[in-house]
């Protein structure tokens, strides 16, 4: 069930707008057990020079899952077997932290496809931008689709 290398370069349509909420950031910070005041207190965030509370570094995983992963899994032509999928690696490049009040859109690209030892490796890049096209974060993930062996 090797993935088709011709898919490299494929871009999925840009996502709907994800509006970043203060309470969602707080909920995420609590779920990772992180008490940093900049993730929950607008006064502390403003004192640190931000327009609003900032999100923990891995907060963008929410948008990556909701848009990038959803695009890939629902792409029948790509034909990825979700039950064999393992997350290989994840990298975020930050232009700035995600802020409460951000209105973000996600564009996902297939960056690389390769086979090794019977497994498929799919590298995905998601550009996370403001609605007017200013980059905030780029997420890179390698997904491993385990072979039958």
């Amino acid at each position: 069930m090797a993935l088709d290398p011709a898919y490299v370069g494929h871009a999925y349509p840009r996502s709907e707008t994800y509006e970043v909420g203060r309470q969602k950031i707080r909920e995420f910070a609590e779920a990772i057990g992180d008490p940093n005041p900049l993730f929950r207190d607008p006064v502390a965030a403003t004192a640190a020079g931000y327009a609003d509370v900032i999100a923990p570094p891995t907060f963008a995983t929410i948008m990556f899952g909701r848009y990038a992963m959803a695009s890939i899994i629902e792409d029948a032509q790509l034909g990825l077997d979700y039950s064999r999928l393992v997350h290989g690696d994840m990298t975020f490049d930050y232009v700035r932290p995600v802020l409460a009040g951000d209105r973000l859109v996600v564009t996902t690209h297939i960056a690389e496809i390769m086979q090794r030892a019977g497994n498929d490796f799919l590298t995905v890049r998601s550009d996370i931008d403001t609605e007017d096209g200013t980059r905030v974060v780029t997420a890179y993930a390698q997904l491993v689709i385990r072979g039958d062996a």
Partner: protein, 137 residues
């Protein structure tokens, strides 16, 4: 952290992850893959049991770095490779993840590279866990 030097160690972090933490993280992150909360389905796909979300381990390792930084927004790049699962038993203590980090390089562009180690059950669970941070000028 005004005087950062190569070889500096970040204050270590020890975190117990319980099944309840996985349920909470699933809800907050919207990652509802059942291998993170359902023993039967985890074992069906060949795992030794319920495992923590890799992204939760990545978040804990990220906290190691942002706790050390005066400003979490000074993170420029953060990446990890997931090498071993963190198996979370169905008990009150859960799984103990131990995180440490060291300044590996200070660059001319005013950034520093921090290498992170995450251990569970005596073994590393992340590799190539690297954060690049902007140092205060």
């Amino acid at each position: 952290m005004s005087d950062v030097t190569v070889g500096d160690e970040l204050p270590p972090l020890r975190v117990h992850i319980t099944r309840a933490d996985l349920v909470r993280y699933a809800g907050a992150s919207l990652d509802f893959n059942p291998i993170h909360w359902n023993e039967r389905l985890a074992e069906e796909v060949g795992l030794p049991g319920v495992i923590a979300h890799g992204m939760l381990t990545m978040a804990l390792a990220g906290r190691l770095v942002t706790d050390w930084l005066d400003d979490p927004g000074a993170l420029v790049t953060y990446g990890v490779r997931f090498t071993r699962p963190v198996v979370v038993p169905n008990d009150a203590d859960g799984a103990l993840v131990e995180l440490s980090g060291k300044v590996k390089e200070i660059r001319e562009d005013g950034t520093a590279r921090v290498d992170i180690t995450a251990r569970f059950d005596g073994k590393t669970v992340l590799s190539k866990a690297v954060a690049v941070v902007r140092l205060p000028s």
